[in-house]
Symmetry: C2
Subunit: 152 residues, 2 copies
DNA sequence: TATTGTTATACTCTATAACTATA
DNA sequence: TATAGTTATAGAGTATAACAATA
């Protein structure tokens, strides 16, 4: 009934906890945005990685996404059914599938990427542009050892 | 097999996406830390909110946590079984339960809070202390309208 | 014998609704 | 009739392991 709850523990205002809450909320916002295109955060990442890699195998994709191969298999099933990507047997090793986006898949990815960028920008709107850059730099520092593509 | 994957889409290095990844990872790190005390992020939050509020009801707690009352009921069952908190009928309205930490529960919470603070500090170690403060300020800005206790 | 990918099974989490008791 | 809380059921998501094909 009270509109102003008791002031809770200071730990709920710490940098680490706010980072947690902000990140989880950012994830939810992006998922909602992608839902309009019948995508999830995961299926969007699949499109992103397949788009930027040549002849990716499912196992290699799973490793990069940090997901179980059976999960990735299901995501690929869906995207293949929708005509967004193709699985083709690797002639050199017929156990492997070479993954590739179709033109339709590339269009879908471009549309989704634009929507995600807009959602992120909206979420970070309370920060000035300079502050967003500063935030990005700090997060790169924190995540450098945890995300392989930041080590460039 | 390649140790250096193809450079992926720039969207994976954006402030918003890095915020997402950092937040989710922070959550995982905190959950791992709390597991050593047989707690989860959620049960720790239950302890935190009950500790800092007087005679909280289950429904009010659920509202503050943003969780379904049935979920909260299960969390309370566990903590009550472990002797960390008590449910007592509200004499003024016998439908309600007044939640309160036991001395054991307060000790558990203090221990867990110290562990969480240490885990956060460790996670943010790549940043100088000044930068951590700056990060915290920026996250307060972003989350001000989304976390009731930041509006102070 | 090891590896890629698929299929089948079981387990966990969560959401929904029905129920009891109090008001 | 409405509210606080519990219990029961069903569904989604995930992990595990067994399997087929290829190396």
């Amino acid at each position: 009934m009270a509109d102003r709850p008791d002031p809770p523990d200071p730990i709920l205002s710490s940098a680490g906890y706010l980072l947690l809450k902000a990140g989880v909320k950012m994830q939810a916002v992006i998922d909602e945005t992608l839902a309009a295109l019948d995508l999830t955060g995961r299926s969007f990442l699949v499109l992103t990685f397949v788009d930027s890699s040549d002849q990716l195998s499912q196992l290699e994709l799973s490793r990069r996404l940090g997901l179980d191969p059976t999960i990735v298999g299901g995501l690929l099933d869906d995207l293949e059914d929708r005509g967004a990507l193709t699985r083709r047997r690797d002639p050199a090793d017929r156990r492997r599938h070479q993954l590739e986006l179709t033109p339709k898949g590339r269009k879908l990815h471009a549309k989704a990427a634009a929507a995600v960028v807009a959602a992120e920008s909206d979420f970070l709107a309370p920060l000035a542009v300079d502050d967003r850059d500063r935030l990005r730099e700090m997060l790169v520092e924190v995540m450098r050892t945890r995300l392989p593509w930041l080590d460039a």
